[in-house]
């Protein structure tokens, strides 16, 4: 365990394993699932599964889950959970529908109001979770009930219709009146080119500094894989009507949040706090403030998702968004989030969401009943987390006898070997 002095230089194969297998393996898994449905669909129904229409529908039908999954991933990485997002989404959607239809505000103000209300809800929940240290499970369980009730209250238990540009957010293809069909293809090409450019530049800098992160083969495979995915996606959407408006929004969110997660101090602190809160605290990470903002962000994204759901259904309904929290959580875990926090990527959450979306779509086409669909999705979630647990157990080397690690005696000699301790740092500035 702790006696490993150094590892042998990575061979090509182990180098391949070195690169983020979890994240890129997900892309491959998604592709395989799509292929599986293609084969099944052709053999059973004699029709193609992988069609531009079907794939566009996957995006349209799952967009709000994907938006929630982005926020949920940060929550889970930070070591928490949010059960309230379905209700918060419904409440924010209701408020924005009221702003639009009852108050006659323009669509963009209705959107902003929803996001602002969501953020405020995040402030409320984040306060209890981060500063009062009530477990997120409890706070958001309460939130789930509270905001469902408030949704029914503000809607008078009735459905409120929406109309106009607002609804186009969820189903339109034109941005400010421009057709995006050709632009989808162009954006795909430019995106792929920029990706290659950044990768080559980054790789060159790493090689120059003598700190290449992965083997040449692993790196090339990764670049080729990603470029292929971008190109394929761009072509597929181009072949239909271009990337829908919500697709552009999602794309922007994925890029923005990946940047925040990887390249900002805040993002790194989200990970550090979730990975080992005590070590992060002693390294000067303001763990409480970080958790607080993670929940504010989750609220704001739930607000945005609320707008999308409302726009898609062309109405705000008291029962909107039920079970969405579970789908968002499942997306994150399928996408590689660790149950204990600290691990997970934004792109992983989105791919996890897409896996669920594709499976739903595929099974519907194959006329698998709702009952069976639910069973299968449940098993997929379990399998994904099982993989995480197994992976962790393997890297921890099997584990010690349970009893030996309970507090008992000074245990100095044992700690010499393991470096454990029974002192805990207090919550930062318990007196504040």
């Amino acid at each position: 365990m702790s006696t490993v002095q150094s590892k042998p230089r990575p061979s090509l194969l182990s180098g391949l394993r070195n690169f983020n297998l979890r994240a890129y393996g997900m892309i491959i898994a998604l592709a395989l699932i799509m292929l599986l449905f293609q084969v099944l669909s052709v053999s059973v129904q004699n029709q193609n599964f992988i069609t531009p229409l079907n794939l566009t529908n996957v995006i349209l039908q799952n967009s709000y889950i994907l938006i929630l999954a982005i926020g949920m991933m940060l929550v889970i990485v930070n070591g928490h959970i949010d059960l309230s997002v379905g209700s918060v989404l419904a409440f924010c959607g209701a408020v924005s529908a009221i702003a639009l239809s009852d108050w006659g505000l323009p669509w963009y103000l209705a959107v902003l109001i929803a996001i602002a209300v969501g953020a405020l809800i995040g402030v409320w929940q984040g306060f209890w979770i981060a500063y009062v240290r009530i477990p997120a499970f409890i706070v958001t369980l309460a939130g789930m009930l509270i905001f469902r009730g408030l949704t029914i209250m503000v809607l008078d238990a009735e459905t409120l219709g929406t109309s106009g540009t607002y609804n186009k957010l969820a189903s339109g293809y034109e941005v400010f009146g421009y057709d995006m069909k050709l632009l989808t293809l162009v954006a795909g090409i430019i995106g792929a080119a920029l990706y290659v450019l950044f990768q080559v530049r980054g790789r060159a800098r790493q090689l120059k500094a003598g700190i290449a992160g992965s083997s040449q083969l692993a790196w090339i495979s990764k670049v080729v894989l990603v470029v292929a995915v971008i190109a394929a996606a761009a072509f597929v959407f181009y072949s239909h009507k271009g990337l829908p408006v919500i697709g552009w929004i999602l794309l922007a969110l994925v890029l923005l949040y990946s940047f925040i997660a990887n390249r900002t101090v805040f993002g790194r602190h989200v990970y550090a706090g979730g990975g080992n809160e005590k070590a992060a605290l002693l390294s000067g990470v303001k763990t409480k403030a970080t958790s607080f903002w993670v929940f504010v962000n989750m609220g704001a994204l739930a607000g945005l998702a609320g707008v999308i759901v409302t726009a898609r259904l062309q109405s705000a309904a008291p029962g909107a968004g039920e079970m969405f929290e579970l789908h968002a959580i499942a997306s994150s875990f399928i996408g590689g989030a660790s149950v204990t926090g600290g691990v997970g990527t934004i792109i992983g959450a989105v791919i996890g969401g897409l896996v669920m979306g594709v499976m739903n779509q595929g099974m519907s086409i194959l006329s698998v009943g709702q009952d069976m669909q639910s069973v299968i999705l449940g098993l997929v979630v379990l399998a994904a987390v099982l993989f995480d647990v197994w992976n962790k157990k393997r890297s921890n080397g099997g584990g010690l006898p349970l009893v030996g690690t309970t507090p008992g005696g000074s245990g100095e000699a044992k700690r010499k070997a393991e470096g454990g301790s029974d002192k805990e740092p207090a919550e930062a500035g318990a007196k504040q």
Binding site: K7, V265, G408, G409
Partner: protein, 517 residues
């Protein structure tokens, strides 16, 4: 009288990379109180865990004989069935349950398959009377003091028909009266035929209560003394406990000591959960530039608590006192405050508090200093990489690359990463808590060299260590701490292990008044 209840022969226990016990022999006579003493890390607790089945038979080498019969315990349950009961320093009681429920936890009094509360409470009352506990058996355990909780533990042991009672630091958390009560109880139990093994750092107490004393050092039995026959004194015990020579384990170093720049005064810290407990009591110390100052003390003396409370109040409540750096008082309410003020604290517990084991070296090296590698909150990925690579080379971390996970490194290399991450924040004062714990000799030497390099740059180092030779070999000045008090300081020339051990074991009624030169 001299019948042995217990014989342990050739007990050897290995942990990955460390030999914790090496051929330990121990004999305990029936109906005696047998003390087990030794420095931190000597292997006392490990030996008791071997005895009580925490480490299953087969996990260690050697033989255990209980009442003349070979004992092969696979678990605590096995050992308890044979009448061996261990009471850990951290009591294993459930605060929300009553005294009676705790006594019979896992051993419930039943009638017809269901718990009989009449039986439970009646039996509990009997046992409580035996240990001198005169409370209602239905009182919740969290409502009674630590002293009484100890008695509940003993009552629980008696309920299991204990023959051999093992107590690990039973009086560490007790005040004088409670301690005395407990020791009296042990004497009474001895007269009723119960044998006790007691691990204690309080040598005065050991000499007053024990019939025999076994000294462990570096995982080996040094000797077993009888308090009747042999003339045993505290000094005699201390010599036996520390008894090794300073070898050439420490790199040569010419200290360049400048002016005193870091001072802590009147520092008092309370326990975060039990606010009435004073953990650090009116402590004061100072460090000069270029100086390595040691802080010696036994387990529970309050050294780590002192350091962490200074480091942005990361431990304890109701903290009072002043910290000054270059004469300026510091406001250290949070860890970022402390880092900003030029303090660094490298924890004794690398794996849990010091590192993110699942993250690579880059994340670990740059976490506390991330603000230096970012602009407008956006981190410069390339500088993170290059800084990490520089630190990796500078600190001689043996890892394939900066992408290696911290959890895959050996203890010594992990410690270098911890040092690196703090040095990158450019602190004025580094508090190093057990910087060489669990590290092999070669890596220790490298860590020592790194520490020398730091003080040569004019920084100050406050070094907490449980290994006295290390403090003597490295430090220019050493403070000793006992039960929250700083009981004295010795400079390099006058420092001996015996003198430090004397200060470290000073019973604290007089503590604090003892010299402050």
């Amino acid at each position: 009288m001299s019948e042995d209840i217990l014989r342990m022969r050739g007990i050897t226990k290995r942990f990955p990379g460390v030999l914790a016990l090496s051929g330990v022999d121990m004999r305990v006579e029936r109906a005696t109180i047998h003390a087990l003493v030794g420095e931190n890390g000597a292997g006392k607790s490990t030996l008791m865990k071997v005895l009580s089945g925490v480490y299953a038979h087969g996990d260690f080498e050697g033989e255990i004989e209980l009442e003349g019969k070979p004992a092969r315990f696979r678990s605590i349950r096995d050992s308890e069935a044979s009448g061996v009961v261990i009471i850990h320093q951290e009591l294993a009681l459930v605060g929300e349950l009553s005294i009676a429920e705790n006594i019979f936890l896992g051993n419930e009094r039943k009638s017809g398959g269901f718990i009989s509360w009449d039986k439970t409470n009646a039996a509990a009352s009997r046992l409580m009377k035996q240990v001198g506990l005169h409370d209602n058996p239905q009182t919740l355990v969290e409502k009674i003091g630590v002293g009484k909780q100890q008695l509940v533990e003993i009552a629980k042991a008696l309920s299991k028909n204990v023959k051999l009672l093992i107590l690990d630091e039973p009086t560490a958390a007790l005040n004088d009266t409670d301690s005395e009560n407990l020791l009296d109880l042990l004497r009474a139990l001895r007269d009723e035929g119960v044998t006790s093994i007691i691990i204690s750092h309080k040598l005065g107490e050991v000499l007053s209560v024990a019939d025999n004393i076994t000294v462990l050092r570096d995982g080996q039995t040094i000797e077993t003394l009888s308090t009747e026959g042999d003339k045993v004194t505290q000094d005699r015990l201390i010599k036996s406990m520390v008894g090794r020579d300073l070898e050439h384990l420490y790199p040569p170093h010419e200290p360049k000591i400048g002016a005193t720049f870091f001072e802590v005064r009147d520092w008092t810290v309370h326990h975060p959960d039990q606010r009435e407990r004073v953990i650090v009591n009116n402590a004061a110390l100072n460090v000069a530039r270029g100086e390595i100052v040691g802080l010696a003390g036994l387990m529970g003396a309050g050294r780590t608590e002192f350091a962490m409370s200074v480091f942005g109040r990361s431990w304890g409540t109701d903290i009072s006192g002043t910290v000054t750096l270059d004469g300026k008082p510091l406001r250290l309410r949070t860890v970022p405050d402390a880092i900003g003020a030029g303090l660094a604290y490298a924890t004794e517990d690398r794996k849990n508090f010091g590192l993110h084991l699942e993250y690579d070296l880059r994340e670990n090296f740059t976490l506390p200093g991330l603000y230096k590698l970012s602009k407008y909150g956006v981190v410069d990925q390339h500088r993170i990489n290059s800084v990490s690579e520089r630190l990796r080379t500078e600190f001689g971390v043996k890892a394939p690359s900066v992408y290696s996970l911290a959890g895959n490194l050996s203890g010594g290399n992990q410690q270098k990463v911890v040092l690196g991450k703090w040095v990158f924040t450019e602190p004025e004062l580094l508090i190093l808590d057990e910087p060489t714990r669990g590290i092999d000799v070669g890596a220790k030497y490298e860590i020592y060299e790194l520490i020398h390099k730091l003080v040569d740059q004019g920084k100050g180092v406050l070094m907490i260590s449980s290994e006295l030779p290390e403090l003597l070999g490295m430090c220019d000045r050493i403070y000793a701490m006992s039960a929250g008090h700083i009981t004295g300081q010795v400079d390099r020339e006058n420092a001996t292990q015996e003198e430090l051990m004397r200060l470290m074991t000073l019973e604290t009624a007089s503590g604090g008044e003892e010299l402050r030169q």
